[in-house]
Amino acid sequence: MAKLTLAAVTLTACGGCDVQIMRALLHPDIMESFEIVYWPFAVEETRLPEKVDVALVNGVVRTEEDLEKLREVRKAARRLIVVGSCAGFSGIAGQADYWPTDASLRAVYGKPPENTVKVLRRVFSPADLVPVDYIVSRCPPLVPSIVSALRAVLGKTSIETVESTVCSQCPRRIKEIKEIHFKKGMPRDADPETCFLSQGYLCMGSVTLVGCGAPCTRFGLPCFGCSGPSHEVALRRDSDIVIALARKIAVLAGLDPVEGAETVKKKLLETYGPRRFYVFTMGSEVIRTKPNAYAVEAAAETRLNPELCEKMIETRKKYLRR
């Protein structure tokens, strides 16, 4: 069988995805079946070919050039796989949307630099802009997931999606909640055997896509949602991260799944602020377009209060001026 050609394209990203792609491509059967024709991270080849069989895209669309590149690779690729939370759901880079882009530029550079590529006014995830064939989620994406996606493209295996959440892989035991009270900060004194939700800490496990094996909760830290939203949250238009989480917590506390959930939701938003629930999904259209989501609300906070931005900029100046 002739080798399939493969191109890997990095938009605005951290390089973690590139590292994981490298580890995936080093699998002997993958190495045999694909010929890498373009991959700036590790191959000295400067031109994206007109046609490639498979393209792996990682990173977010942050600038005009990212956008161009994404269009180019979508046109060229027969199959397009996006890799990482950034590419699937805007990932950590989406957090930047909390502040207006101008404010961020001013805070870091004083005057926004002019002689350079234009930054878009918000962050986009590639999966929102062009049709994609597969998403390999998670930050960083797991090597076996990338490998299985590539094998599926080869037609060797098929992949089934598992509609579950991180909780199903977490060893912690869920117990009834006695009192609705949320604690801020790191769970230093938490019991290592018991679910964080039962102990009053925020854990995003029950609204986050399954697959990572819950390394965080095993290491004594709550899940913060790096895999992206679970199927339930993403597919139901009436659902959202906050309300889905609140509903589960409410029932754990013996409250009504509808009315009780509203109370819990209010409490959650009060304690953590809306932004905290969208650490990896703030820029994703899947979440932003939901009527019940708070992602847009979180971003509106700074837009409605320009003083917040000014304060942030001033504080930064103060600390750097010595």
Partner: protein
């Protein structure tokens, strides 16, 4: 209402024994009961009113209803659905 009661399957590999399903079930008598091993058991599927609230409160998405609404998806565009078919 379907004539045949739905088949309710709990995936015990995923189940966390949190018993949210028992607490939330809308049916008068309750469809689930706690078994001796601590896992919820489907004991009265014929009472199920198919509200599917148990799906929503389950932290690990362990419950499936068969012979009933195949899909829960209310999104009209269909785009995210397509997308979620292919998540690895």
């Amino acid at each position: 209402m379907p004539v045949k009661p739905p088949t309710i399957i709990i995936d015990y590999d995923r189940c966390k024994k949190c018993l949210n399903c028992i607490r939330a079930c809308t049916a008068f008598e309750g469809v689930y009961e706690k078994g001796e091993d601590g896992y919820p058991k489907v004991v009265r599927p014929e009472y199920c009113v198919e509200c599917l609230i148990c799906h929503l409160v389950c932290p690990s998405n362990a419950i499936t209803h068969k012979n009933y609404r195949e899909t829960l998806v209310l999104d009209l565009s269909g785009l995210p659905i397509e997308r979620y078919k292919h998540i690895v």
